[in-house]
C-alpha cells in the first residue's frame, strides 16, 4: 500500500494577475451568506466592499479589481445551496483602496479594534474549502480560547500552500499570529511546523510528521492540548486554529490596511509537480489551469482542496474563493471510481484509522442512516481524514457514508430541538 506523505516543497510562489472578469459568490467561508452592497451597473474600486456580513463572526468581501458590476445572480455553492454571486469586469492592476494602517504595538491595541479591522478587511479563516469547522471564525471576546494554534504546515498531501506562505514571509506570519492572539485573547501561541522549517518561527512549536494525517487540524489540536475535543460541539472553546495564510492576512489587514483580495492556491495535475500561485479571488478555475498549461477536458476530474478531503467541481468556470487551498486536475484515465458493494470485512480501515474507530461497523450503519448504532460505533470521534476510503478493498465511498450520517444526525437533532 502506498503510504500517504507530505512531499517537500519544490517551487517558488507565482503571481497570477490579469484576469479581467471575476466571479465572487457571497458565501466564501462557513454557511452564513453575505449581503450584497453593490448593484448591477455600479462602478467599484479595487478593494471596495461588495458583500457585507450580517453576523459578527463573518468577515466582508472586497472587489479585487476596479471596474463595473456586470451581474448579480444566484449560483450553486459547494454545499449545493443557492447563493448570490457578483460578477465584476474591469482593470485588475489599478490602485487599491486601502484602510488606514494601524501602527500601534499588538500589546497596546484593544481586542475590539483588531476584531473590527479583521471583519472590515474580510479576514476569514482561509482554506479548507471554507467548511472546515476546525478553522473557527472570529469569536466574541468573552469566549477567549486558552491557546491559538497557527498551522504553518499543510493538512493534506499535494497541498503546499501554507508552507509556501511561511517560507515567503515568516515575519508577517508571526506578526499576524501575535495580532490575532491579541484579537481573540489567547494566552498561549503555538506554531505547527514541518521538520524543515522549525527555525522560521520563534516561540512554541509542534512538529508535523511526514505521514498523513499528522497535519490534520484535529490531530494537531489534540497534540497541543492533550485531548480530543470532538464530543463537545464545534468550534472548541479551549483552542482556536488559524493557518499561516490567515495570519498573513491579519498582518496585512492591520499593518497595511489591505483587505483580503487574493488567495494562495496550489495548482497541479495528478502526477505532475504542482506550483503555488497567488490568485485574485473570483478567478475562474479554467484561467488558473491555463496559466499552468493545463486544461480540463471531458471526463476529467477537477477538485479544490486536497486529494482526500477536497470537493469535486462540475463546472470548470467555477471561481476561486477564500476557501480554495488547492486546485487539481485528474485526467479521465486517472479517475478512480467507487463501487456500490457490501463491506467484506477486510479490516484495512480499522487498521488505518487514526482515531481507532471500528470503521467497518460504523460505516455499515452510516450507509443506511442508522444513527444510533453509528454513534455507538464512535461516529462522533471521526475527523473525516478520508484514509478509510483510501484503503477500502471493496472501494466503498466510506467518507461519503460518514458525512451523510453526520448530516442526518444534525437534521434529527434540529428536528428534536424544534419539536
Amino acid at each position: 500500500m502506498k503510504r500517504l506523505t507530505y512531499k517537500t516543497l519544490i517551487s517558488e510562489i507565482q503571481e497570477l494577475t490579469g484576469a479581467g472578469r471575476l466571479v465572487l459568490p457571497l458565501l466564501q467561508v462557513g454557511s452564513v451568506p453575505l449581503e450584497a452592497c453593490v448593484e448591477v451597473g455600479d462602478a467599484v474600486e479595487r478593494g471596495q466592499c461588495i458583500g457585507k456580513a450580517q453576523t459578527p463572526e463573518v468577515a466582508s468581501l472586497h472587489s479585487p479589481l476596479a471596474g463595473q458590476v456586470r451581474g448579480l445572480f444566484p449560483s450553486v455553492s459547494l454545499e449545493g445551496t443557492s447563493v448570490q454571486t457578483v460578477e465584476i469586469e474591469g482593470d485588475p492592476t489599478g490602485e487599491v483602496q486601502t484602510l488606514d494602517p494601524i501602527e500601534q504595538d499588538a500589546a497596546e491595541l484593544p481586542a475590539e479594534t483588531l476584531q473590527d479591522r479583521l471583519r472590515e478587511a474580510g479576514v476569514s479563516p482561509l482554506g479548507g474549502n471554507g467548511k472546515n469547522a476546525a478553522y473557527a471564525c472570529l469569536r466574541p471576546a468573552d469566549e477567549s480560547p486558552e491557546t491559538l494554534l497557527v498551522l504553518c504546515a499543510d493538512d493534506e498531501p499535494l497541498l503546499q500552500t501554507q508552507r509556501h506562505i511561511l517560507q515567503n514571509g515568516p515575519e508577517k506570519v508571526i506578526e499576524g499570529a501575535t495580532l490575532f492572539q491579541k484579537a481573540v485573547g489567547a494566552k498561549r501561541l503555538v506554531f505547527a511546523v514541518t521538520p524543515n522549517q522549525p527555525n522560521m518561527v520563534s516561540g512554541e512549536t509542534v512538529l508535523v510528521e511526514k505521514k498523513y494525517p499528522s497535519g490534520h487540524p484535529e490531530i494537531l489540536m489534540a497534540r497541543v492540548t492533550g485531548r480530543y475535543g470532538l464530543d463537545e460541539g464545534r468550534p472548541r472553546k479551549d483552542i482556536h486554529v488559524i493557518n499561516a495564510e490567515t495570519a498573513m492576512a491579519v498582518c496585512r489587514a492591520v499593518r497595511e490596511g489591505l483587505p483580503v483580495m487574493d488567495k494562495a492556491v496550489t495548482v497541479g495535475q495528478e502526477g505532475a509537480v504542482p506550483v503555488v500561485m497567488r490568485v485574485p479571488l473570483g478567478t475562474v478555475f479554467s484561467q488558473v489551469l491555463e496559466k499552468t498549461g493545463l486544461s480540463a477536458e471531458d471526463a476529467d476530474r477537477l477538485f479544490t482542496g486536497g486529494p482526500l478531503r477536497g470537493v469535486a467541481h462540475f463546472d470548470p468556470e467555477g471561481p476561486v474563493t477564500k476557501g480554495t487551498d488547492g486546485l487539481f486536475l485528474q485526467k479521465g484515465r486517472q479517475v478512480f471510481c467507487y463501487e456500490d458493494v457490501a463491506c467484506i470485512g477486510c479490516g484495512q480501515c480499522v487498521k488505518v484509522c487514526p482515531m481507532k474507530i471500528p470503521v467497518n461497523m460504523m460505516t455499515r450503519n452510516c450507509e443506511f442512516a442508522r444513527i444510533e448504532e453509528a454513534l455507538s460505533y464512535d461516529l462522533g470521534s471521526c475527523i473525516e481524514c478520508g484514509l478509510c476510503a483510501y484503503v477500502c478493498t471493496a472501494r466503498r465511498p466510506l467518507l461519503q457514508y460518514i458525512q451523510f450520517a453526520k448530516k442526518e444526525y444534525e437534521k434529527a437533532e434540529r428536528e428534536r430541538q424544534s419539536a
Binding site: 500500500m1 502506498k2 489534540a222 485531548r227 480530543y228 464530543d231 480540463a296 477536458e297 471531458d298 471526463a299 476529467d300 476530474r301 477538485f303 482542496g305 486529494p307 482526500l308 478531503r309 477536497g310 470537493v311 469535486a312 467541481h313 463546472d315 470548470p316 487539481f328 485528474q330 479517475v335 478512480f336 471510481c337 467507487y338 458493494v341 457490501a342 463491506c343 467484506i344 470485512g345 477486510c346 479490516g347 484495512q348 480499522v350 487498521k351 487514526p354 482515531m355 481507532k356 474507530i357 471500528p358 467497518n360 461497523m361 464512535d378 462522533g380 470521534s381 478520508g386 476510503a389 483510501y390 477500502c392 478493498t393 471493496a394 472501494r395 465511498p397 467518507l399 461519503q400 458525512q403
Partner: protein, 317 residues
C-alpha cells in the same frame, strides 16, 4: 464555447489500488504452485477436481445471483477462489457429483443465502467441505479416494500418524506434498504463497501468526497423544505444522475477511483459538483430517463477539 463534462464524485479522490478482484486473483496466483504440484502428483484426477470445483462454484454463484435478481459478480473472482480452495482440500479421486455438491453447498448455503460476499458468517469453502465430509465420509476419506487411482500406495500422513507409523512420515516429503493427501498438500509452497499475501497486506497477518502459534502450542502440548496408546514415540511439532491443511488454514482459510474479526486483539485471539482447536480436534477428535476446518469454523461463530474487544476510540470520554 463548448462546456466540458467533468467527472464529479465524493472525496477522497485517491485510492491505494486494493480491490476485491485484485485480492482474489492474487490469492489464486500464489496458490497456483501448490495446485500445480498437486496436479503433477495425481495427474488428471487432480485437474478434474480443480476444474470442476472452480466451474461449479462459479455456476452456483451466477445461478443464485440470477435467481435473486442481483447483479452477477463473477468478475470479482471470489467464487472462483472459493472453488480453488475447496479443490485443494479435496483428495484427487472423489466422484464428480460429490465435488459438485460440495461446491454448490459452499456457494449457496455458505455464501449466497446469507446475502453474498461480505455477509456470510462462516467461511464458504469450509461449509462446502464440511457438508460433504459429514454426509459422505467414506468417499471423502483421502486414503480410500486415492485407492481408485493407480500407482499409489501408503497412507496419508495424518492417518499414518494416527495409526502409529511415526517413522513413515518424513518432513521433507510432507513439505513438497510427496505424501498421500488432498490436492493442496505441498504445504511449503502454500506457506510461501501465504507469506507473499502477508507481505502484500492482503490477509490479516495477526490471524495467520496467531493461528500458527496456536497450532504450534497445541502440538507441543498434546501432539504426541495423536499416536495410539502403547507407542512410545514423539511427534515433531514442526511436522504437525506442515501436515493436514494447517498452512492452507493459517493463510487462506482462517483469514477469510468476512468471517474473521477486524480488531487487533480479536484477530490474535481468533487465530490462536482456531489453531489450538484445530490441534485438539486432530488429536482427540473423530474428524482428525478436518481439525483445521472445524477449528476455524467453530471460532468463526465467535468472531462478532470477539470484535467487541476493541480499543476506546480517541476523543471519546
Amino acid at each position: 464555447m463548448k462546456e466540458n463534462v467533468l467527472t464529479v464524485s465524493v472525496a477522497p479522490f485517491w485510492h491505494c489500488g486494493a480491490g476485491i478482484a485484485r485480492n482474489s486473483y492474487l490469492t489464486m496466483a500464489v496458490l497456483l504452485p501448490a495446485a500445480v504440484v498437486g496436479v503433477m502428483h495425481y495427474r488428471i484426477g487432480a485437474l478434474a477436481v480443480l476444474g470442476l470445483c472452480i466451474g461449479s462454484c462459479m455456476l452456483a454463484e451466477a445461478l443464485m445471483q440470477k435467481i435473486m435478481g442481483r447483479p452477477i459478480t463473477l468478475g470479482d473472482g471470489s467464487a472462483a477462489l472459493t472453488g480453488m480452495l475447496l479443490a485443494l482440500l479435496l483428495p484427487a479421486g472423489v466422484p464428480w457429483w460429490l465435488v459438485v455438491v460440495g461446491s454448490f453447498s459452499a456457494i449457496i448455503v455458505g455464501k449466497q443465502l446469507y446475502g453474498g460476499i461480505g455477509s456470510h458468517p462462516l467461511n464458504a469453502t469450509l461449509v462446502g467441505w464440511v457438508m460433504i465430509r459429514i454426509s459422505w465420509g467414506v468417499l471423502m476419506d483421502v486414503d480410500a479416494a486415492l485407492a481408485n487411482l493407480p500407482n499409489l500406495s501408503g497412507l496419508s500422513s495424518l492417518a499414518a500418524l494416527k495409526g502409529g507409523y511415526v517413522d513413515a512420515v518424513e518432513l521433507k516429503d510432507v513439505w513438497m506434498g510427496n505424501v498421500i493427501g488432498p490436492i493442496g498438500s505441498a504445504s511449503l509452497l502454500v506457506l510461501l504463497g501465504g507469506l507473499v499475501l502477508l507481505v502484500l497486506r492482503v490477509v490479516k497477518w495477526e490471524v495467520s501468526v496467531g493461528f500458527l502459534v496456536g497450532v504450534l502450542l497445541g502440538s507441543v502440548l498434546f501432539g504426541s497423544r495423536i499416536l495410539p496408546e502403547g507407542i512410545d514415540a514423539s511427534v515433531n511439532p514442526i511436522l504437525m505444522l506442515f501436515t493436514g491443511n494447517v498452512m492452507l488454514g493459517a493463510f487462506f482459510l482462517a483469514t477469510d475477511p468476512t468471517s474473521s474479526p477486524s480488531q487487533p486483539i480479536a484477530m490474535w485471539i481468533y487465530g490462536f483459538a482456531a489453531g489450538l482447536l484445530a490441534m485438539l480436534i486432530r488429536v482427540y477428535g473423530h474428524y482428525y483430517d478436518g481439525g483445521v476446518v472445524f477449528g476455524i469454523l467453530l471460532v468463526s461463530l465467535a468472531s462478532p463477539l470477539l470484535d467487541k474487544i476493541r480499543p476506546k476510540a480517541r476523543g471519546r470520554e
